[in-house]
């Protein structure tokens, strides 16, 4: 095993466009063979960061360290990173094979070695026999594969993928997502993936970097990001959330229980952190799929509230409800609804689970 575990280190990167600061001190490490995704709404700086790593955009301060060596002063052609652009940027006047071998020819590979490598790459991306095709005779998915093969041709230390799936239709996107992940697993190539699609990020990555307005909000595995978001932005970015303002009324460390008062009544929960105190203002993060909905009052369990269905939508695998409890709106996803489906104005009972993620409010509300 290599003693130095990081393939790529970003050190306090700042970038300005005119006077607008688009990256505000980005620092993070990417391990060897890891698949990391930069995700965030448009304008968060994720693509700029990727272009800085690739060498297409200069940084104003900070360091980019690739495999132990500083590379931020080098032009793209002298860096051991290869990018795959969102629009693939395949050379339209060349064949598939010419595209793939463009970099190999520049590196002055021998003719027969180039030929071997082309075959190898075509096989890798499942395009055997299509080497002679012109680019515009390929489907979107095939073009995507060519772009991938071209970026992989020189065996880069880091592969950069800039929203590579955004030009594909929904089904193909799912397939390619799986294939990219499989390929990355097999080649053990360190990969940075940029996307604005949080589900894509969750399903493909080892770790996710959530960015907003030039700042890293949280770095973590998909599970960490989903289950234990650092703040409201991340919580709602990775899926719909019911937020409930509350105040801690009671903390019982021994029993591992706490109670918070909320606009709909008291809620009992298992605190996942120990640093909460009575009197803290908090936000309860309640995911729609964790709430149980039923027509009659459950016999056991705490945190049961009566409400009225406002809107019900039946989508087969799922029923989606908007339920009002004392003026508060709750979104509920009821998986596998079978024959039960509640209609507007029907009375229902909601059970809120006890393992709730809490956000501590920093500022005290008036």
């Amino acid at each position: 095993m290599d003693t130095y575990p990081f393939m790529l280190v970003l050190e306090n990167i700042h970038k300005f466009y005119d006077r607008l600061e688009v990256l505000k001190g980005i620092s993070m490490e990417v391990r060897k063979g890891e698949m990391v995704t930069f995700v965030g709404p448009s304008g968060c700086g994720k693509t700029t960061l990727l272009r800085i790593i690739g060498g297409f955009t200069s940084l104003d301060s900070g360091e980019v360290i690739l495999d132990g060596q500083r590379i931020d002063h080098l032009p793209p052609n002298l860096r051991d990173t290869r990018i795959c652009f969102q629009n693939y940027a395949l050379f339209p006047h060349m064949t598939v094979a010419e595209n793939i071998s463009y970099g190999l020819k520049i590196k002055k590979w021998k003719k027969n070695r180039i030929q071997e490598r082309i075959e190898e790459l075509l096989k890798l991306v499942k395009l055997e026999g299509l080497g002679g095709r012109m680019i515009d005779k390929l489907s979107g998915g095939q073009q995507q594969r060519v772009a991938l093969a071209r970026a992989l041709s020189l065996e880069p230390k880091v592969l950069l993928l800039d929203e590579p799936l955004s030009n594909l239709d929904a089904n193909l996107r799912l397939t390619m997502r799986g294939e990219i992940r499989k390929l990355q697993d097999r080649l053990k190539i360190t990969t940075i993936f940029v996307t604005h699609d949080q589900f894509e990020a969750m399903s493909i990555s080892d770790r996710i970097v959530v960015m907003k307005e030039g700042v890293i909000q949280q770095v973590g595995s998909p599970i960490e990001i989903y289950e234990r978001p650092n703040n409201e932005f991340i919580a709602s970015f990775v899926g719909y959330v019911n937020f409930l303002d509350g105040r801690i009324e009671k903390v019982d460390i021994g029993l591992h229980r706490a109670i918070a008062s909320t606009p709909i009544g008291e809620i009992q929960f298992i605190p996942e952190r120990t640093n909460i105190n009575v009197g803290d203002s908090v936000k309860l993060v309640i995911r729609p799929e964790t709430i149980n909905i039923s027509g009659s009052e459950p016999l056991t369990g705490n945190n049961t509230f009566q409400g009225e269905v406002e809107i019900g939508m039946y989508v087969g695998s799922l029923a989606k409800y908007t339920v009002m409890i004392k003026g508060e709106k709750f979104i509920i996803d009821q998986p596998n609804p079978r024959e039960t489906f509640f209609k507007p104005r029907e009375k229902v009972y909601l059970s809120i689970p006890e393992n709730i993620h809490l956000l501590i409010k920093t500022e005290t509300p008036q």
Binding site: R51, F56, N77, F85, N87, A89, P92, G103, L154
Partner: protein
């Protein structure tokens, strides 16, 4: 049966039926009228030239053509013209590419100034460069005297230099346009895969630009061989087709040989017009969509930067010098000989009267041209009649036809009844209308393509008949295109020389013709001053256009007709 009677249509009067007919058929009626106009003022003059070239008192003959190909002088004129076109195209493309590359990929501080100077020749009539070359290298030229040159600017080289400078903007703009639309990720990908800048240009940029460069080349070629002024003023004893036609007709009154020369000149123009419009359209390397990222300027390598800058700056320097000396000559007694500041050239009575006449003719031409252009655009885009493509081709063809040919055509066609127009102001105006129709028509077509036909259908749905829709919906929407057509026709008409030089009558001189005469007779001061006044008028028009573009948000720039 009795029930059916209550549904029967009430008796309509003749007028009501006529109104219904007109409303339903209005677009076709317009089309027919417009076609008639195009036939009379574009097709008929060209046919007249064609017929003149094969007709002698005994009947049809190819004798004149035989004379053309057997007499060395005529044939040499064809050779010279084609050679001129070829050399000019190559130089313009090389210079245009260097400038376009610098203004899109080069150092940021150079981009704007280089772009402005590259486009400067657009505001001047092309023959400005012939005049500036005479001032610099003529028999009494500043540089001729300063360095004691004993070579003459009159001849092939002089024409090549003047033409190149005049047509740099055309090549530059078209290449710049394609360079800008090139997805920056393509060059970046090549860079990412290890390519150097020189290699990127050679293997990616130029191959991808080929269709655009080819188009630009064809256009420059046609414009160059058809251009009259520079070759006529600087050609000296070197024969070229366009000025030779003038000598044939005006000097020797040999209409038959003049027509033959015209037909010979028209052939490459028509071939290229078709190549340009039908073969190359849509011939563009498609790149897959996705939002184009604003690429950050990368440093140009010296190996590329130095030669590009040398070529670019040489061109820019030559353009600036040309404008400079013509401006100076306007206020100097005889620049280089008697360097006294005088205002007599600027105040020259003949010159000012010619300018006044030119404004008059150009205003009439612009007004008629804009109306016909707008209507034609509508008919071409929305009409569904047979021959629509032919009308479109015809209305755009004036642009491709050499001015000298149309000039001779008008002379032949409108010299006798039923269309006796020669000697009047109308023949000058109409000539400009139909030569420069393409600009107005294209502006109208592009405007109409932005408008969804459903707007018109909505109007009809709300009860409007075609006339109401036309006045209330179509005309207001097309108004910016109308204005664009008006100003462009005015601008191109006022500097145009090649056709009107055949049509002016003594006592009613136009500015362009005045400049030509003055340049030929060596009155450089008056020629320069008149040219500068035209430049001022064109700048004024451009400012109005600019203002309107900003105000209406409709981009009416980037269109340039023939001169």
């Amino acid at each position: 049966m009795a029930k059916a009677e209550s549904y029967s249509v009430p008796e309509s009067t003749f007028w009501e039926r006529l109104k219904t007919f007109v409303n339903a058929e209005l677009i076709n009626i317009f089309a027919a009228l417009l076609f008639l106009l195009l036939a009379i003022f574009l097709l008929y003059p060209i046919l007249a030239v064609l017929i003149k070239s094969v007709k002698d008192p005994q009947g049809l003959t190819l004798g004149y053509y035989l004379k053309f190909f057997t007499k060395g002088y005529y044939f040499r004129s064809l050779q010279n013209t084609l050679l001129l076109g070829f050399i000019n195209t190559i130089i313009s493309l090389v210079v245009g590419f260097c400038l376009a590359y610098l203004t899109t990929r080069g150092p940021i501080i150079l981009r704007k100034p280089l772009k402005i100077v590259s486009m400067m020749p657009l505001i001047a009539p092309p023959y400005l460069f012939a005049i500036s070359l005479i001032i610099l290298f003529g028999r009494n030229g500043i540089l001729t005297k300063a360095f004691g040159f004993n070579w003459s600017i009159y001849g092939f080289t002089g024409v090549v230099i003047a033409q190149t400078l005049a047509f740099i903007p055309l090549a530059y703009l078209m290449i710049e346009n394609t360079l800008m639309s090139l997805n920056p990720n393509l060059e970046e990908s090549a860079y990412d895969l290890g390519a150097s800048e020189g290699r990127i240009i050679r293997t990616i940029t130029i191959p991808l630009l080929t269709p655009g460069i080819l188009k630009a080349g064809l256009l420059v070629f046609v414009m160059t061989i058809a251009e009259f002024g520079n070759a006529a003023i600087l050609g000296g004893r070197t024969p070229f087709l366009a000025p030779d036609t003038y000598t044939m007709i005006i000097g020797e009154a040999d209409f038959e040989m003049g027509s033959v020369l015209s037909v010979i000149l028209i052939i490459p123009c028509i071939i290229i017009f078709f190549l340009h419009n039908y073969l190359l359209t849509g011939k563009k390397f498609t790149t897959i969509g996705g939002k184009p990222v604003a690429s950050e300027p990368r440093k140009m390598t010296l190996l590329v930067k130095v030669p590009f800058l040398v070529i670019g700056f040489a061109a820019v320097f030559a353009i600036l010098i040309s404008f400079g000396v013509v401006l100076m000559a306007s206020f100097t007694k005889i620049l280089g000989v008697k360097n006294e500041i005088v205002f007599s050239h600027i105040l020259n009575f003949d010159s000012n009267r010619a300018i006044y006449n030119s404004i008059q003719v150009s205003l009439i031409a612009a007004f008629i041209g804009a109306i016909i252009g707008t209507l034609l655009a509508y008919v071409i885009v929305r009409g569904k009649f047979f021959g629509r493509n032919f009308i479109e081709m015809l209305s755009l063809s004036g642009f491709a036809l050499p001015g000298t040919v149309i000039g001779i055509g008008y002379l032949l066609a409108f010299n006798t009844p039923p269309f006796k127009l020669t000697g009047g102001i109308m023949i000058l105006a109409l000539n400009c209308v139909f030569r420069f129709l393409a600009v107005g028509v294209e502006a109208g077509i592009s405007k109409l393509h932005q408008i969804n036909i459903e707007i018109e259908e909505a109007s009809a749905d709300l009860g409007a008949n075609f006339m109401t829709t036309f006045y209330k919906i179509i005309l207001p929407i097309m108004f910016p295109a109308f204005i664009a057509g008006f100003i462009y026709t005015f601008m191109t008409a006022i500097v145009s020389l090649s056709a009107v030089v055949f049509l002016v009558s003594p006592g009613f001189e136009l500015a362009a013709v005045k400049i030509f005469d003055a340049a030929v007779y060596g009155e450089i001061g008056v020629a320069s001053a008149t040219t500068m006044k035209l430049v001022a008028i064109v700048i004024f028009c451009m400012m109005i256009l600019n203002y309107l573009t900003k105000k209406t948000g409709f981009d009416i720039s980037q269109k340039k007709g023939a001169i």
